[in-house]
Amino acid sequence: MFSEQIINGITLGSIYAVVALGYTLVFGVLGIINMAHGSIFMFGAFMGVVATSTFGLPLPAAFLVAVVTAGILGFLLEVLALRPLRGKKGVSHLAPLISTIGVSIFLENLATKIFGAGNKPFRTSFSEVSFQIGSVNIYAVQIVIFVIAAILMIGLSLWLSKTKAGRALRASAEDLDAASLLGVNTKKMITMTVIIASIMGGIAGILVGMAFNSVTPQMGLSMGLKGLAIIILGGMGNVRGAVVGGLILGLAETAVVMTGASGFRDAIAFVAIIIILLVRPQGIFGKASEARR
């Protein structure tokens, strides 16, 4: 029983980590909180439902559809909501926050219009398959989710550390102007960052759909909030922090459900935000100066 809950917590946590990576990438490079990330995540989940249930496509094709949709949404987000604010004089630091809130509320209500307000089930061919290892019962879905999440996380950190594009992205995160002087096409890097972050969000959407077997237009908000809590927990713009923070939140939520207070599960993220801001505002892996003004 206990080890099953640990596995549930790790599965959940690995999804949260993927969501949080999207926030962290954009914050790292652009220094802004992308409030629309949760809605793009939700759209990815719906694309998975539409592809598998309505068109009867296999799961890998569903992933492809979600990736393409989320990528397009990320591109539009950058071009329509973020780029017009960049480099403009007299724009307050709240402007990108408000602009992305606008995108999020638009997408949420668009999804309600297109897909309806209710729950949509997300069925996969192996959703009922489970293994017995010793006394522990593991669902195949959990393994698939964990493997995909792990591939994404490892792939992203390898890409960031080993490839030329990854280095350019890290240079842009360090200092946009200096990177530009050194010959990095920062405009392209920024667009790419938002698109990659959105794609991670779209994939996470499908993973959540598989894990909970349900997709709603409102899931973007609660998942977005958890992603934000995680990046505060792990340290803003820190990739390792996002992964560790995601696992911590996943395990903490599972622990709360185990004690029977499942209704208050969504409150954990908020409690985590307040505690970490009181105790260690820069996050677990953050540098001390970052959180200050």
């Binding site: 909501a81 604010l85 709240l94 408000i98 638009f106 909030l225 934000l228 208050f264 801001l277 505002p281």
Partner: protein, 323 residues
Amino acid sequence: MLADLINPYYLQVLTFILINIVLGLGMYVTLSAGQLSLGHAGFMAIGAYASAILTFTYHMPMIVGMLFGTILAGIFGLIIGLPTLRLQGVYLAIATLGFGEVMRVIFVNWESVTNGAVGMSGIPNLGREISSALRDWGLQASSFGLRNNQLSSLVVFILLLIITILIFMFFRRQSQSRVGRAFAAIKMDENAAEAMGINITYYKVLAFVQGAMAAGFAGAIYAHITGYISPSDFDYHRAIDILIYAVFGGSEVIWGPVFGAAFLTAIPEFLRSIAEYRYMIYGVILVAMMAFRPQGIIDHRVLYRLKRRRQAKKAAKREKEVS
């Protein structure tokens, strides 16, 4: 004659406009110190539920419930504001977004007190309360030539109009005082403000708590006017509503949120066909405002022009009289 002019439906729309103006003013004062709060819906919920529970479950007088709801919202604002406002602006936005969600979760799950997702109904009605008080003084609706529901809508509207004007005057005077200048300095540049000797955490918390109290008060009034509240009345959409009053109307001058709240509350009432797409339009408005007019529709320049036009008219009139 008077009876034909007073339409309870229009009075209700006007009353909601006033509530939204109070909410918009709460958002304005927080924004005027350069802070973005997404938790005003949560503070509104605290005010509404606190007042509803005190008056409905414990049969307290309505004024006690409203004051308690307002103060409780302020206390929660203090609890959220103190740890987050020492940090960068984004932390407050995230923490308040989480706060709004957590309040909703609590009101849904705390069923013994709040009746859960179903919501509370039968909350004492402000209009009825005042009408019955008037009746005790010997003032009947018929003595004004009005029906009962007309009288109650009318007294609620007048009372709320007076309160709204008082709140407006308070924020207006404050914005021209030492406190308001401190807010403006922090909004411009926190580091420079701090270097000038302004205690920026104190003023940011002050602005935020004032906004929370305004939202709490609006929530309490809302509960006693509609008579029914549920957690879904105070969800993320409500937070967006409150935000857009100030962003659309303008967060630079105090007339901005007044205009934004009045305009955006009235329009969906008269254009029913677009009401369905309201939040999609709001999303487009938020993005477009940030790109093209971040200070909102009403800014210093618009006010200045209006003032000049009025002065020019006056001058022309005077000239005519002289000649």
